[in-house]
Symmetry: C2
Subunit: 380 residues, 2 copies
């Protein structure tokens, strides 16, 4: 059994919790850089409301908008300089996983200096260690990446065609406010994609660890079930706040230590996807996962069989690994999330390059070039 | 839906994690008061080992042993003075719930002054608010009270015949180290009693909230199942480290916000038990719970029926509230935990006094004198 370190940020969760932001931010800092995406927050009128709430609570607020999907290192570096130049002591990130990850990176670069790319993890002692960051408040507007509850981020480097993680205690948010009302306007597609991300965060460590851990496994199963059931509900009824709440809560726990405490197991499928969207910036993370998930499960079905049977038994009452994979495929199909890599602009000649990148860049995390090539070919 | 605030301490968990104590304590403080119980830690030889580990890591260590079950306010006050006089900056509590609660109280009194009894919660604005405490490291040696993962404690006052909680952010441990190996030598009785405490922490808020919350409910169900299954295993095979690990993990999550996020519901049975062992110091907390649990469930079976059916369906595959209560009773019986209050020295003439104490002292938490009297009479 593995010794597990649990670090979960302070979190205020539930419909309406966004109303706590102003007062909480005022307790946390004085001068905030507010990081947002490209359009939604401003166009929905929410940005204006939030800024005036923050100002009424005595904060000085500087905006840093325009975060793109798969956020780039130079955007984060620019944000870090901006935060430093403005004398900010707090980064507030309101958006999806890209905005939250960018916010963490900005908080790190502003406090410790350098470029965020200096900190990406290539293995032990192969990069600079995050030691300090500005305070971070995150407000997810999707139910997907779990960035709000952990101390890592993912950053892209288009020149190197790499998308890599940064890990470190200073990246744990000081506070996260998880208000499912912010996800009510997500499209059916983004809703389903978020659930795929949640599901993969849980199912990858679950399947790649052969040793059961009763309680961790039960929590993992509950999260997977929540993603499956309530994404289907929210896709059909986008304004169902109960379903949205289940999805937001599940997303926040998915990449926390709770569903994998005392277990081995890692994120092998995620590493393949990181390489894929490192090479193809037009493929957002969860879309990549949804294209790779079924090929990954089928490729590994023999070694995953016991674990898949348990999962299938607990969720569908039938201990059958193939049946479980079929059910997952149906679920992806019903949300229009299946497809082939070639339909998303991937070139066949890149498959081998990507597979060898998985091996080279993610060896520390169990990245396996042979597996990657087989999965990429099947998904192609 | 209720807005939920999650605060979970940093936690290092798993068999062997005690080995991290020295280095972690050295990162946290310089002069530690080590709080322990009456015998076990010293007699097992563990105390000596821990003290030398702490000293090797450069800490100055002062011992404060002798914590009794249902720890008394004057013991805690004395510990607080001791910590202050010695210039301690860190309280390390190694033991069961009483030791951990006493440690929290000592950390508070040492830093903020006064008596721990000034801080007990009688309702909003009726007591002093905890504002600061010394750093706290907790190492549970039972799987029971969840004190290692929350920011409350319970303290007894024999003169007033009261046992009351103290709540406050400074009582959250700086770090908890949950090493299931420390529970291997627990007697079958203490093992089963710990599981009763875990079960009650989860089932009380579950049953007293009528509104379901899918994911919170699933987590709650998993914790209850873990307590039922693995206490039975550990009672028969005390050295089963896998079972012990499940019980320790379940205990640590039981009184955290995770199994009750976004739900209403409280600890109504706990309040009755607090009054019971406030009046009868010879009845330890979990023993009191085990005597009251079945009468409490039977008394409320109509209002709990829907929730009990769901629970029974999820755990035993049969949606039947009465069946579930019978199964719980069997489980208590099989561990020798059922019995009558009168067999534990309770006097019939005290039942009404205790019931009115429940109403008076715990009204803020839903304490109900009528319910308490019926439950106490039935349990008598």
């Amino acid at each position: 059994m593995k010794i597990t370190e649990i670090k979960f940020p302070r979190m205020i969760m539930g419909p309406g919790s966004l109303s706590r932001l102003g007062a909480e931010a005022a307790r946390t800092g004085r001068r905030a850089l507010l990081v947002a995406g490209k359009k939604w927050l401003r166009e929905s009128g929410l940005l204006e409301k939030i800024v005036s709430d923050l100002k009424e609570n005595g904060l000085e607020v500087h905006l840093f908008e325009g975060t793109e999907p798969n956020p780039k290192y130079d955007f984060i570096d620019r944000g870090g300089r901006e935060a430093r130049d403005r004398g900010c002591d707090l980064i507030i990130g309101i958006g999806g996983g890209s905005v939250m990850d960018a916010s963490k990176g900005i908080a790190l670069v502003a406090a410790q200096g350098g470029s965020i790319w200096d900190y990406v993890y290539y293995g032990p002692d192969r990069s600079r260690k995050p030691e300090k960051a500005l305070k971070i408040i995150l407000v997810p507007t999707t139910a997907a990446t779990s960035s709000e509850s952990n101390s890592s981020l993912v950053v892209s480097n288009p020149e190197k065609k790499q998308k890599m993680p940064v890990f470190g205690p200073p990246l744990l948010p000081t506070l996260s406010i998880v208000d499912p009302e912010l996800t009510l306007s997500l499209s059916p597609e983004l809703t389903a994609l978020g659930a795929v991300d949640t599901l993969c965060h849980v199912i990858e460590p679950y399947l790649t660890s052969r040793e059961p851990q009763f309680l961790s496994d039960r929590i993992a199963t509950s999260l997977i079930e929540t993603a499956l059931i309530y994404s289907a509900v929210a896709v059909k009824k986008p304004d169902d706040i109960y379903a949205r709440t289940q999805l937001s809560y599940a997303a926040s726990l998915a990449l926390s230590p709770f569903p994998r405490a005392m277990r081995e197991g890692g994120l092998r499928l995620h590493w393949i996807e990181h390489v894929l969207s490192g090479h193809y910036d037009s493929i957002p993370h969860a879309r990549g996962l949804s294209l790779l998930l079924i090929p990954w499960l089928r490729r590994n079905i023999d070694s995953f069989r016991r674990r898949l049977e348990d999962l299938s038994d607990a969720i569908f009452g039938r201990a059958d690994a193939d049946f479980f994979v079929e059910k997952l495929e149906e679920w992806l199909n019903s949300s229009g999330l299946t497809g082939r890599l070639r339909d998303f602009g991937v070139r066949e000649e890149d498959l081998e390059i990507m597979a060898s990148d998985v091996e080279e860049l993610y060896r520390w995390g169990g990245g396996d070039g042979t597996e990657a090539l087989e999965v990429l070919r099947e998904a192609f």
